[in-house]
């Protein structure tokens, strides 16, 4: 079922594959909870789920390769790996490392591949992870490529919604900078797979780009077709509304997904202050809809008033914590430890298991690197043949 070797872009994944990762995260969450987290504390000693330990990824090494600072994402991967018994190498962009000594990314990836079992990459250029995936001998996880994709953020957003029981028939408003905010692009795409009703709330100048909206239609259609073909019936597809008026949608939605509006996007500081004020989430706003769930990818500046933090509506810190079980799910799946994938891997290996006997020989390591883009190309080809029939075999 789970066919990916790398995690590069949300666009690579089907709803089934996302569901698989989310269930996996649910299974692993008990290992993600530290004693001090406060969640899941039972009355008796025995009910402290957070005390469970795992050695699922024992002997595995993760390389965190960060060409840009991103403490939150890096720490979250590190915690996920360590809570499953694995080890982490951190390679930052510092004066002394090859990262800034002029070695190109391609060489770094090929070298680092030899030192670890998986690579987490954050890079300022769009498409860097896609290139890395084509060169690496181990799974590559995109932790943000320029203004491009950040798929584990999307997964943890979806996981948060799932935990709240909101993922099906969701009505959600994406608020703030929808033009440049990369998290909202891939989140919108994923939500379209779930047939969500989307409200895009932003100032005129920061509207959701046309090509993203086009993609949403395609995602909805593809998923509806897949559901139809499988006889599942329920056709997904996103219904999209656009507005500049936040107060107009507050009563309409279950969730406000708030993002930061950056000052740099506005040449005129006065204009920025006006816009930022109009999209600020306050306790006053919550009075309009008491059940409203507030999410934010963090870090936040002042788009959510601190007074909201203590309300039952605020989910953003919990959301940040969910990054750990989600990244555990991603790491364990791509490293072939546990779950469906491992069973497949074990069957496949059988005879060769003792032959190599190294620690990497326990899962997906035997497969040729594969990304979903290739699958998409294959799909397209099939489609092309179907459409053109024997014309495809012209000449």
């Amino acid at each position: 079922m789970f066919t990916k070797r790398h995690l590069i872009s949300t666009r690579d994944f089907s709803k089934d594959e996302i569901d698989f990762l989310l269930s996996r995260a649910e299974e692993l969450e008990k290992f993600a909870r530290g004693r001090e987290q406060g969640w899941g504390w039972g009355e008796g000693e025995g009910e402290r789920e957070g005390e469970e330990e795992s050695d699922l990824l024992k002997g595995k090494i993760l390389a965190n390769l960060f060409y840009e600072p991103s403490t939150r994402t890096r720490l979250s991967f590190e915690t996920a790996m360590k809570r499953l018994g694995g080890e982490v190498l951190n390679l930052y962009s510092t004066e002394t490392s090859s990262v800034t000594k002029g070695e190109n990314l391609a060489d770094t990836i090929r070298t680092v591949s030899g030192y670890c079992d998986a690579i987490v990459l954050r890079h300022p250029r769009e498409g860097a992870s896609r290139m890395a995936a084509s060169l690496a001998s181990v799974p590559v996880i995109n932790a943000g490529d320029g203004a491009g994709q950040h798929p584990t953020q999307t997964l943890l957003d979806l996981y948060t919604l799932k935990k709240e029981g909101l993922l099906e028939n969701l009505r959600i408003a994406l608020v703030g900078d929808l033009k440049y905010g990369r998290t909202v692009h891939s989140l919108a795409y994923a939500l379209a797979l779930y047939g969500a009703t989307l409200f895009f709330v932003s100032p005129e100048a920061l509207r959701m780009p046309e090509e993203v909206k086009m993609d949403l239609r395609a995602a909805g259609t593809a998923e509806a077709e897949a559901a139809g073909a499988a006889g599942a019936g329920a056709g997904a597809g996103a219904e999209v509304f656009e507005t500049s008026d936040l107060s107009a949608v507050v009563k309409e939605v279950d969730v406000l997904y708030v993002t930061r509006i950056q000052k740099e996007r506005f040449p005129d500081p006065a204009e920025y202050r006006k816009v930022a004020g109009a999209y600020r989430v306050t306790r006053g706003l919550l009075k309009e809809n008491e059940d409203l769930v507030i999410m934010h990818p963090l870090p936040r500046v002042d788009e959510i008033d601190a007074a909201v933090d203590g309300t039952k509506n605020a989910r953003y810190f919990k959301q940040a914590f969910y990054g750990v079980p989600v990244r555990m799910a991603v790491l364990s799946t791509l490293l072939g430890a546990g779950g469906e994938r491992r069973r497949e891997g074990e069957e496949k290996q059988g005879a060769s298991k003792n032959a190599r006997g190294n620690r990497r020989n326990s899962g997906v390591g035997e497969e040729a690197p594969r990304t979903l883009r290739e699958r998409t190309a294959d799909d397209r080809e099939r489609e092309c043949y179907e459409q053109h029939g024997k014309d495809a075999a012209r000449f």
């Binding site: 872009s9 666009r11 002029g102 190109n104 990314l105 391609a106 890079h123 300022p124 250029r125 769009e126 498409g127 860097a128 896609r130 290139m131 490529d145 320029g146 203004a147 491009g148 994709q149 090509e211 883009r373 998409t376 190309a377 397209r380 080809e381 092309c384 053109h388 014309d391 495809a392 012209r394 000449f395």
Partner: protein
């Protein structure tokens, strides 16, 4: 057939007809036909991508009933294969390929956009990894929508996922 090909007919080879007017030189560029690889005495060459030794003639701005104006490229003594020629659908979606043997058109084909195009289009996104000079990476585009029936072809960068509609500025 012959009437449509106009001007001097060739004995053997390939005539690429119905090229969008003004795109003939881009067609040659995409087919990598240039002075460097147009060597002599390689008539039997089976190399792909270049018309080694071939005489190439280009007709530009020819009057056409269907298209108003069109360009034509003739490559003598060489039968271009579909996988070589399909790439020109990028800029000349209506192009027709005529294979000529002994002055007769023995086969006639349309061009089809390949699903994946490597190394021809330059990504429009300056921050795309495929535009990073220090990286050994060849641009790659996935065809998102085809050019059949005059539909605007659209391409998505394999790396940064940006869409390009009009590729003529990015060749």
């Amino acid at each position: 057939m012959k009437k449509e090909l106009k001007v001097v007919p060739i004995k053997n080879g390939t005539v690429i007809d119905h090229i969008s007017a003004g795109q003939a030189l881009n067609v040659l560029r995409i087919l990598e036909i240039n002075a460097k690889n147009t060597r002599t005495s390689t008539r039997t060459s089976t190399r792909t991508g270049a018309a080694g030794g071939a005489v190439v003639s280009v007709l530009m701005n020819v009057r056409s009933k269907k298209m108003g104006r069109k360009d034509i490229v003739k490559v003598e003594d060489r039968e271009l294969k579909s996988e070589e020629v399909d790439k020109i659908a990028l800029i000349a979606p209506n192009a027709k390929i005529n294979i000529i043997r002994d002055f007769e058109v023995v086969a006639k084909h349309k061009v089809f956009l390949p699903n994946s195009i490597e190394g021809i289009i330059k990504c429009a996104n300056p921050n795309c990894i495929s535009n990073a000079e220090q990286e050994p990476v060849v641009s790659r585009f996935v065809t998102v929508s085809g050019s059949r029936g005059g539909v605007q072809p659209r391409f998505r960068c394999f790396f940064c996922e940006r869409l390009i509609e009009d590729v003529s500025g990015y060749l």
